[in-house]
């Protein structure tokens, strides 16, 4: 494909195409810019390619090298150069070549479309270069913008922030605050992670029993021999007694407390498990009624 290049850069070719479209007219002048030597030795190619940000960047460079207005892109010449680079590149940096190959294909397509004779009535058809030129211009704008931004003064490189030391004074230590919803959230998280709860269906337990278990243990901490009846109060009513009873059973089951009664109808006492006191030593809570 590179052998039989048309020569849009030569006057003949330019004139020939002029009838169909003013491709060779630059600012009203006939197109006559001689092709520049764009050759870059293969040895230098690898370094050369590292300097580009992609196929658009390379294309822009090639156009700049020809010192041409981007709007009067000499597609055929550029395509030839470009494809030569691709050829070299695919030997050296295969992994890089893909994006460049897409561009080469696009250039080749544009070239081939421009080579085809076009009936005059199709004049309103889009210039095949239009999309490419649009993309090149678009890329060039941001390439320039990036350079502009990079040139602007910035912290670290051009400016240092001033941050004078604050003379220390004693600061009172703040304790973290906890919101109830945070606590609920924490529990929700731990429940989600834990299968233990699901297996035991703990959700059926009510909190009041748990709370009462703690209360019972607290009273036992003060006095390690507490009368059963003193653990619930009249004010709490029937529900209170049931809760207390359930809590005691739960504690018994966990072998945290023991319950003793010296004889039938004698007062029932609750004590921490493991402490030997006089009287019967009882194993199971179910031995006791109220």
């Amino acid at each position: 494909m590179t052998e039989e290049l048309p020569k849009p850069a030569s006057d003949d070719a330019a004139q020939a195409q002029q009838n169909e479209m003013p491709f060779a007219m630059v600012h009203g002048e006939p197109y006559s810019v001689p092709p520049q030597d764009l050759y870059i030795p293969p040895d230098a190619l690898e370094i050369f390619l590292d300097a580009f940000e992609g196929p658009l960047d390379l294309l822009l460079y090639l156009i700049k090298r020809q010192n041409l207005d981007i709007l009067t892109l000499p597609i055929a010449k550029i395509t030839q150069q470009y494809i030569e680079y691709i050829g070299l590149m695919s030997d050296l940096r295969l992994e890089l070549a893909a994006e460049y190959l897409v561009m080469a294909a696009m250039l080749a397509e544009i070239k081939s479309r421009m080579l085809l004779p076009r009936p005059i009535e199709e004049g309103e058809e889009d210039d095949p270069r239009a999309e490419l030129i649009r993309r090149l211009q678009e890329y060039e704008r941001f390439k320039k913008a990036a350079e502009d931004i990079n040139g602007m003064p910035r912290v670290e490189r051009d400016i240092l922030e001033i941050n004078v030391l604050q003379t220390e004074v004693v600061v009172e230590k703040k304790l973290p605050q906890v919101e109830l919803k945070d606590l609920m959230h924490a529990l929700q998280q731990v429940l989600r992670r834990s299968e233990m709860y699901a297996a035991h269906e703990i959700k059926k337990e009510t909190l009041s029993i748990r709370e009462r278990m703690t209360q019972i243990l607290s009273s036992l901490a003060v006095d390690d021999f507490v009368e059963f009846s003193s653990l619930s109060t009249v004010a709490e009513g029937r529900d209170g007694v049931i809760v207390t009873f359930a809590a005691i059973l739960e504690l018994l089951k966990d072998r945290v407390i023991e319950i003793v009664q010296s004889e039938i109808f004698a007062p029932i006492y609750v004590k921490p498990a493991g402490q030997v006191i006089e009287g019967a030593r009882l194993e199971e809570g179910r031995d006791y009624g109220i």
Partner: protein, 214 residues
């Protein structure tokens, strides 16, 4: 409070802050005082302080997040020797990506890649997000719901700007129609491209505009 003391406190606070301070933040320093200064007083202090360092090696600069004292660019050659670490350098790919986010926000990664003609390494976005120069401002309602990126105040602070408007305008797209009127290839959408950076407020305010734009 005497004006002189007010000025001393504000000056010291601005010098000691590790973060730019707004007038409102400065007023908060006095919230426990019986006689709180007026907003005008604080503003007056600031303008006096600005003037006072006009001929010095540092300046009181207004940037996006507020006021901060900073060294002047002119003396960086000397002052930079204070820092052992070298200022980070950013690659062209990085800066071009940033430029696209700045001027075209909200923008998706695919849209950036489209303009640049190459795929973008993930590390670029990682750094942009880590430095909090760029944030995800929404998701585009197209398949895959890709993230749309926008800029932050931190970016402006870093580049010594108070608004995006201070950035240079984008180069204009040359109108091919001028030379080839019959081609008329520039589509309407392209002409709408703002040549000024998109306003930060606009981005933070409504992402809807993003959806209507594309």
């Amino acid at each position: 409070m005497e004006f002189k003391q007010l000025k001393n406190i504000i000056e010291a606070a601005l010098l000691a802050a590790d973060h730019p301070l707004t007038v409102d933040l400065l007023l908060k320093l006095f919230e426990d005082d019986q006689q709180k200064p007026a907003k005008e007083d604080v503003k007056k202090v600031i303008s006096e302080l600005e003037e006072e360092c006009a001929e010095r090696g540092y300046e009181l600069k207004k940037i996006a997040s507020g006021y901060r004292y900073q060294t002047r660019v002119e003396i960086q050659g000397w002052v930079s020797k204070l820092r052992v670490e070298r200022a980070p350098r950013y690659s062209r790919a990085f800066m071009e990506t940033l430029a696209l986010v700045v001027y075209r926000q909200p923008i998706t990664r695919a849209e950036i890649e489209d303009v640049r003609g190459v795929s973008i390494s993930s590390s670029i976005f990682k750094v942009l997000l880590e430095r909090e120069w760029v944030k995800i401002v929404g998701h585009k309602e197209v398949p895959g719901r890709p993230a749309m990126y926008g800029t932050t105040k931190k970016l402006l602070d870093y580049f010594n700007l108070s608004t995006l408007n201070e950035l240079p305008s984008l180069a204009e797209i040359k109108d091919l129609d001028q030379f080839h009127p019959e081609l008329a290839f520039m589509d309407v959408e392209e002409k709408k491209v703002p040549d000024k950076p998109v306003q930060l407020e606009a981005i933070e305010g409504g992402v809807e505009s993003a959806e209507t734009r594309h």
